[in-house]
Amino acid sequence: MASSLTIKGLDAAYGSVRVLEDIALEVRAGETVALLGTNGNGKSTLMKCVMGMLRPVAGSIVAEIDGTRHELNGLATEEIVELGVALVPEGRRLFPKLTVEENLYLGAYRRTARAQLKRNLAHCFDAFPRLAERRRQLAGDMSGGEQQMLALGRALMTAPRILLIDEPSVGLAPLLVRRTIDKIKELQEQYALTVLMAEQNFTQAIRIADRGYVIVHGKIAFAGETAEELNNNELIREFYLGA
């Protein structure tokens, strides 16, 4: 069953500071879409709006989940999670003083997720055998790469249909960035997820993205229909490659 995300006319602000302006963005069923942009352009704010952690000033955020349409603007975060939208937050945001296993259990806090806890935990350990080995270790004691795996695993525990990933490459060594991005692709295919990934690391992100948006100063500056289009875009040269 198909799940998609459609954002229209989204405005957001922190107090009187405008952060997002008239954002229109679509993630179609089964797609991996990259949201590209450097620091401070509004990528994380957009993610927060989708998750109900920041009330947008205007606009609609519609998630179609397994054929049912839901307006997310106005729902509480836990209700959005319950619907099947999960976020892997920037900087991973694990519970450092809880064990790996407890972190994963917390991912399945919602009642519906708790009902399938065993199955999801098995899936999670399947995808990340390393987490099974370290299940009793404190999350804060793990390496950056392992923590990113745990953050992904925790999001999977809610059995999401739409997965938002905020800067998975932050603070990771280049080799680990590559591995993490590959893992995201693998999970996307395995669970037929619809993925929106915010990323600064352009070359890594478009390796797995079907399409992409470039966000500059809170506006969508360019929407690329294919990875090639993004690759050959002037804006991206200007912003990323400094040419």
Partner: protein, 316 residues
Amino acid sequence: MGTKAFWLATTAAVLIVFAASRLVTNDYVFFAGYVVLQYVVLATAWNILGGYAGYINFGTSGFVGIGAYSTVVLHKLVGPPIPVLILVGGIVSGAIGLGMGYLTLRLRGVYFGIATLAMAIVVQTLVTNWDFVGGSRGVYIIRPAHVPFIGGYIQYLFLVMLVLAAVAVAAARTIERSVFGFGLAAIRDDEQAAEVSGVPTLRLKLIAISVSCGLMGMAGAPLPYYVTYLDPASAFNLGYTANTIAMPLIGGTASWVGPVIGAIGLATIQQVSTVTISSALNLLIVGVLLLICVVVAPNGIVGLVRGKRRRAGRGG
């Protein structure tokens, strides 16, 4: 400790203390014991929000006062027995805690603390200007000299507080091990991450503050009968706030054992020093112990013992 063992131990502790108290003829022991048990309830209650969820409440004195003055009001209007007064004090205090939580729990860290402190002062000011409950003059409560089957009234109050302490500790332990307590631990560790994991953070915090403040009100409800003369300055004494924060911190905030150890230890030291040295020394003792605790046992006595055990386990 398993759940069965916990209930057995709690019941046994209550019975043993009760039996031992039958042998005591000196009333002072009951007056002192009442205060110690009252602090077991207060520290345990505070820890439900402060220790489990990481929200530091500076308003303990406010909720003790609310519980105490709800008793004064009821005493003047109806005069029901103590258990009813405790229940009402708990409900009133819990409801006010819920209201305060709704207004302030969106604030984090020090801002939440300031708001709770302000609440306590506002309520004290209101009560001080409320003539029906005696205003700043205070109010006298005449209690019966004897209670059937138990004996003196102070023995009865001691027993009531003993049962209340057992109830509070059992409640805290149940919360700690429930899905609810697990959610609170997540809030303490990283509230935003808890939110995106689907933990209904605001709802959990509101339940926690209601339970916590409700128990504080329950601990305060028998106070007018204990002191027989109540005025706002003693009912809303900031000493309650300071002690109730210090006790869990000294004992350890991560589990229900910590506040119990901290309360029994600190309150006993205070009671003994009041008699043997000076009553003015109380808060100084709290300060010194807190300082020592920060240096020697940052995770409290429970954390210290657990750390030692873990190290011993690794060595052997």
